[in-house]
Each structure stands twice: as structure tokens, then as C-alpha cells.
Point group: C2
Chain length 422, copies 2
């Protein structure tokens, strides 16, 4: 394919990691005005001042040109925590919650996660894949170029594998890259309520080996939380996964401090996620172990808790922050990383530079992809967003709108779809 | 022009006023499943069950057809409070605020509203009109079909009239309908700081008569707030406007209770806006006088006040609620009514039905347009949105994305722009 030369960029804004092509950062952003970017074979080969470009790489008569219209270019968003392959919908529960019912009351009445489990078990793999693709369309329109997606609404060997195959099938059809996580330990299924140890046996002895043998996932995840899985149970599941090559990550300390952050540190998890109720001891353990904190402010917002993770304290302690949508039907139905960034700035108290870093480079690192994506640097994959904005600050300043004017994936424009002659 | 028949609508959701074609409502929404809508000469002539349509209006071989794709149709949004005609940009102040400076500190250092006044005075009418048009593009994409726009960054006779002419010029070029408001009493300009009575004389004796003579505005507005204009000053300005045919509305009780709500009731204003600090007495006065409360949750969000107007209390007291963006460069830079609706549901505590009513019919009533727009009813103007959503509840449930798939204005599709052959 021909080279792609992106011209008329008002500024490039990219997180800067500590070394070449990798490592988490904490809000140090390089801003290059009046810039151009050259993409070749799906990679960035030049990103810098327009004036230097010609001297460096010549006139490039064979290159395709894309006019950024004076917009800002940032890395494609990386969304490292989603529950995409679900069936059914829960807007009626949502309306009940608005009318005053609590999440726990709704769950006790047979709603909540188990209603999604029922619908997902009834769905075919093809139906789930179509649902994932529709959600990926929204994600791409909002600038996400790589996302993680978890199982966890099947809660049986057949249905967890069905979810993971749906993720793979959707990824094969779509421009957005997907990384899959096995999360059979999302909840105890109803048929195992009185024998939870047997469900843990099923996960560790059947589901994990089958997923690993079929190479259906890269990670394993557990909902380590009071009333769901204990730290000891979570440890067992994550170690079983690790023995089969599934790297650990976990839902930790979302509602109460249950030692999830410390467990993440103990196991060397790639990420501990949620952390609304994380303790000071948990923060220190994560900092010491270099664990990334993946924060999900859309979930706090959607659940109307008015309580957000202590992001500033974690940054002060040296914990790298990533951001994700948590896209799911019960506690955060959004595919939009721009919305998550706005909530991170307005509610978590991140600076715009910190939020950009968290939504790109640090999110990539939490998926083990920090060497390939997450910043605008020569040698990285050309996953780029053109924002309809004169500079990076507009990413939060101009809020509530979708700032993404165009998406470049692997060096090709994929959104909006180019018109004939356009 | 040919009739337009909108088919394959999963549901129509429209506020229901107390009588035919008019009057505010409070969250009573009519939902019609499996519906069609017929538009003729820019008006709705049928909106109801698809099965009844053919019996009522026949086969319609000459009608243009639009497939809503199984989406939901609601009225076009009406945004009754914006400050669109400004020049300059204030993202640097925004970043300072994120770093800990207060709005008042920034204003004291020469930033804030007066920096926008300087830039707006320096801009030409054509530049301002171009800025308004660009903001109207965002509004239309987010589903706004009618908006109010205020002057108030000129603060001189020449510059206030320039702003109002820019509104008119932009409206002539754009699909979105604009209603103009004179708001010379937005702030005391620096050159009148030591003689504020003279500025009030200027407004009442020169600016108001000139605006009225040139028919440049329908409304007049005042920032009635401690440190800006007193209730007595506000009364003088609004009465001067009313004597020249400019109907009163006002910024009331945004930061502290300064009697703005009571003044709105006394003067029979079409709307009192902001009301974060409104008193119980003010609420009762508004309820007794039938004054619409226009709430601006984007402003609370953007200023990170974590304090929102007491919407539920006002609804209980019988005050009709409208919603608006307050789109402006200093305290709420968004054009998105979907974002405002999400904030209204999640932060003001409105039901989805109340938020829909507030963003359409009640907003139309606050502009004196309740007879013409704001609901999906035969006889009203065909200003309609097709949402990429199976039902109304998704308008808040599926948050952070732009749900507007298509906009119909005056019975014609205007967004997204139809492609050749599409």
C-alpha cells in the first residue's frame, strides 16, 4: 500500500514514556505544533515539524495525502477494560434505579448481572459477535483503535468459550483490535450457589485449560470483592490462569476494600481495576510492585455513587493510571473514551495530559502492548486520531461532543469511511 | 416539495402538553411503538401506529421515504440558553482552573468574561457569524433544531448590535433556527466600572431602542447576581426592554440567592435560568407565577462545583423545567443537548421522561414557541430526530455517545447530509 502523509496538523500531542517505545508515563506529553506524520507499512516513520519533514523524507510523490484540516493528532485510544460480548439489555432496570431502587435490590429481585447471564447463555455465538461488532462501530467512531474484551456472562465452560469465540470472530471482521480476557470468575452462577468450590474447580480445571489450549484469551480476570470472590479464591483462579499462560488482571476494591490491590501486587498483575475503595496500604503495595491502576469513572457516574477512585493520591504515590470505559449493560453503558476522559478530568481530577496518557500509553502498557501502540512515535503502529480541535486542551475543554474527526488504523483511514472522490 | 414518510420507527416518544399544541408539561411522555410519521409542507400530518397509517392517508406513491432503521423518533432538541456569538478561546484558563485556580481568581487577573469581551470587540461581524455557524454545525449533529443565542460580550452599543447581526446572519445560512436575546447587561464593561449608572442608561436609552428598531432580538436578559447586577438594576433593564417589545428572561441565583427568581416572577419573565442557589421563597414565587426554570447542568459540571439546581424540589412545587447547554467559552463549552440530558438525569435527578420534556416542549415554551415545536404531534413543525436507539430510555442509559442518527428539519433530512444514492 502507498505511504500516507498526514498534513496540516495544528499540533501532535503524544505521551512520552521513560524510554524508547515503551513504559508507562504519568502525564508528560510532547506537543509539536505545525506538524506532519508519515505512515509506511502501517507504522509511523516520521512525526514532527512539517518544515523538517521534506528535508528528512523528500517530496514523496507516491504518497497518499490526508489533510487534517488544522486539527490535533493524538494516538488512537486504547480501552483496556470492557465486557463487550453480552446479549440482552437492561434499560428497564436502569429506569428502576432512577426511580430509587438500589443495584443490590435489583439484583436480589433476579435482575442485575444474572439477567445478562441468562440472555447471553441463550444467544448464539453469531448473535454475540454481531453485538460486539455493533459496539466496536461506536468505539471506532469515538476513537478507540484497540480494546480489551472480557467473557464473564456465560459462567459455564460452553458459554464462556462461546463468548471468547465471539470476540475473536468480531475482531476478524473489524478495524478495532481486540485483546481477550477470560473472566469466568465474574460471579458464582446460580446452579453453583450452594457449592462455590465446585465452580472454582470448574474454572481452574476445565475452563482455563480449554481457553488456553484454543488460544482464546491473553488474560484472566476475577471480580475480587466482598460478596463475590474472596482474595483467596481470586488468588487460586489467577494462579491457575497464569500456569496456562493467561496473565492476571483483576477487578479490585470496587465497593469495599477487600485486599484486591494487595493481591494484584502480590501476583504481579498487569492491572488492578476500579479501586474506588482502595486502601492506603493497597496503593503503597501497587506502587512498590509497579502495578497499573485502571480507573473506570464511567461506572461511578453511571451508578450515581458520587464517589470516585482516589486518582490524585495514586499518582502522588507513583502508581501509573490507565482509563477504560468498563462498557457493560449494568454499570456503565458507554463505548466512549472521550466521555471517560471528560469524567477523568472533571471528576477524578486528572490533568488533560494525565488523562491523555492514561487513555493511550498506560492503557496499552496494561495490555502488554506498550512497545507497539499508545504514542505517536516513529516505529510505533500508525493508530492515530485527528481531532476537530486546535489543540490538546480541547479534549476536555470542549466537552460532551465527539471530537474525533478521523481515525487512522494501521496507517489507513478507517473512520469516517472515505467517500468516493472525498 | 414531496411528502416525507418516515418508516420503520421502533417508537415515537413525545412529551404531552396539557392541551392541543401547547403548554408546558412535566414528564408525561407518549410512547407509540411500531410507528410512522408523515411530513407535508414542513409539518407533521400523521404520527402514530404504522398499521393505521395506510388506512388514514393511503399508499402515498409520491412520498419520499426515509427508513429510520428501527430507531426511536423524538422531537428536535430546543436549546433555550446559549451565548453563541463569541470570539477567542479560553482553554488556557480552563487548564489553570484544573491546576487549582478559582474562576474568580482568573477573572481578577484579567481573564474570565472580559477576555472574551476583548476578543469579541476585535472580531468582525463576519468572523462572529462564522463562529456561530461552526457551533451550529455541532448543535445540529447533536440534534438541536432550534436554539436561543444571546449577545453580551460586546458591552457597547456597536458591539452588542454586531453580535446580534452575526446571529441573524448565521441563522440565514443554517438549518438550525435561532432566536436572539439582547444581553448587554451581562457584565459592567471596564470603562464603566466607576459609573455603572451610566452603563445602565446606555442600555436602556440607546441599546434597547436600537435593537428593537432593527428587530434584532426577541428577548432581553440580565445577569442578576451578587457582584454583577442587583435586582433593582435588573428590573430597570428588563422593564426598558419590555417597553420596546423585548420579552424578559434572566440569569438568576446562579452563585448566591440574590432574589432573581422572585424578580422573574414579579416581571412575568418567560424563564429564570441557572437557579443553583434559588431559595424556597423563590421557588414558590416562580410556581405561583408559572415561570419556567431553565436549568444548565453543564455549567455546574464544567465549573466542578458539585452543586446542582434543586430540580426535584422545583418539580414538586410545580415549576416547569427546561434544559439548555449555556454554550459559552468560560463556564460551559458544549453544544450537546444529549450531554445535558445525561447530566440532568445523573446529576439533577430528572427521570428520562422529564429530561426529554425539558429539552423539547418546555424549552420551546420558554422561547414562546410551544405552539409550533417541541413535540411530535400533527400540526407541529416537522423538526424530528432519529435516534440510534431501540427506545427512549437509551437516551440516558446509553450515555456519552451521540445517539442522533438523523435530523429532520421542516420535514427535510438535514443531518447527516444525504449521500448521492444513499
Amino acid at each position: 500500500m502507498p505511504d500516507l502523509l498526514i498534513q496540516n496538523i495544528s499540533e501532535i500531542a503524544s505521551p512520552e514514556g521513560p524510554g524508547p517505545l515503551g513504559g508507562t508515563a504519568q502525564g508528560r506529553v510532547r506537543r509539536i505544533p505545525d506538524a506532519e506524520i508519515l505512515c509506511r507499512d502501517g507504522e509511523i516513520v516520521y512525526a514532527g515539524p512539517a518544515a523538517e519533514r521534506r528535508a528528512r523524507v523528500g517530496d514523496l510523490p507516491g504518497a497518499e495525502r490526508f489533510d487534517a484540516g488544522g486539527g490535533t493528532v493524538i494516538p488512537g485510544f486504547v480501552d483496556p477494560h470492557t465486557h463487550l460480548p453480552w446479549a440482552g439489555s437492561r434499560e428497564l432496570e436502569f429506569a428502576q434505579r432512577l426511580a430509587g431502587k438500589t443495584y443490590m435490590e435489583i439484583a436480589a429481585a433476579g435482575g442485575g448481572i444474572l439477567s445478562t447471564v441468562r440472555a447471553t447463555r441463550e444467544a448464539t455465538e453469531e448473535e454475540l459477535a454481531a453485538n460486539v461488532e455493533r459496539r466496536l462501530d461506536w468505539m471506532l467512531a469515538c476513537g478507540t483503535t484497540t480494546a480489551e474484551a472480557k467473557s464473564g456472562y456465560g459462567l459455564s465452560a460452553a458459554d464462556e468459550l462461546k463468548q471468547l469465540r465471539a470476540i475473536r470472530a468480531a475482531a476478524n471482521e473489524h478495524a478495532v483490535d481486540l485483546v481477550a480476557t477470560l473472566m469466568a470468575a465474574h460471579e458464582i452462577p446460580p446452579e453453583y450457589r450452594d457449592r462455590r468450590e465446585r465452580y472454582l474447580d470448574l474454572i481452574c480445571e476445565e475452563i482455563v485449560p480449554a481457553v488456553a489450549a484454543q488460544e482464546l484469551a491473553s488474560f484472566s480476570d476475577v471480580f475480587c470483592e466482598e460478596g463475590v470472590f474472596t482474595p483467596a479464591e481470586s488468588r487460586r483462579v489467577l494462579i491457575a490462569g497464569r500456569e496456562h499462560g493467561l496473565l492476571p488482571r483483576l477487578h479490585a476494591d470496587e465497593f469495599v476494600d477487600s485486599g484486591g490491590a494487595e493481591l494484584a501486587a502480590e501476583l504481579g498483575a498487569l492491572s488492578a481495576d476500579h479501586l474506588i475503595a482502595v486502601s492506603e496500604r493497597g496503593i503503597e503495595a501497587m506502587a512498590a510492585a509497579g502495578i497499573i491502576a485502571t480507573l473506570l469513572p464511567g461506572t461511578s457516574f453511571f451508578l450515581m455513587k458520587h464517589t470516585y477512585a482516589p486518582a490524585r493520591r495514586m499518582i502522588e504515590a507513583g502508581v501509573p493510571i490507565a482509563l477504560a470505559t468498563d462498557c457493560n449493560p449494568g454499570s456503565s453503558f458507554t463505548e466512549s473514551m472521550p466521555m471517560v476522559i471528560v469524567l477523568a478530568v472533571f471528576e477524578l481530577g486528572l490533568s488533560i495530559e494525565e488523562a491523555l496518557t492514561a487513555a493511550t500509553l498506560n492503557a496499552a502498557c496494561s495490555l502488554g502492548l506498550g512497545q507497539r501502540i499508545g504514542s505517536v512515535e516513529s516505529g510505533k503502529r500508525a493508530d492515530l486520531l485527528v481531532l476537530d480541535a486546535p489543540n490538546l486542551l480541547h479534549l476536555a475543554y470542549h466537552f460532551g461532543i465527539n471530537p474525533v474527526a478521523a481515525v487512522i488504523k494501521n496507517g489507513r483511514r478507517v473512520h469516517p469511511v472515505a467517500r468516493a472522490g472525498g
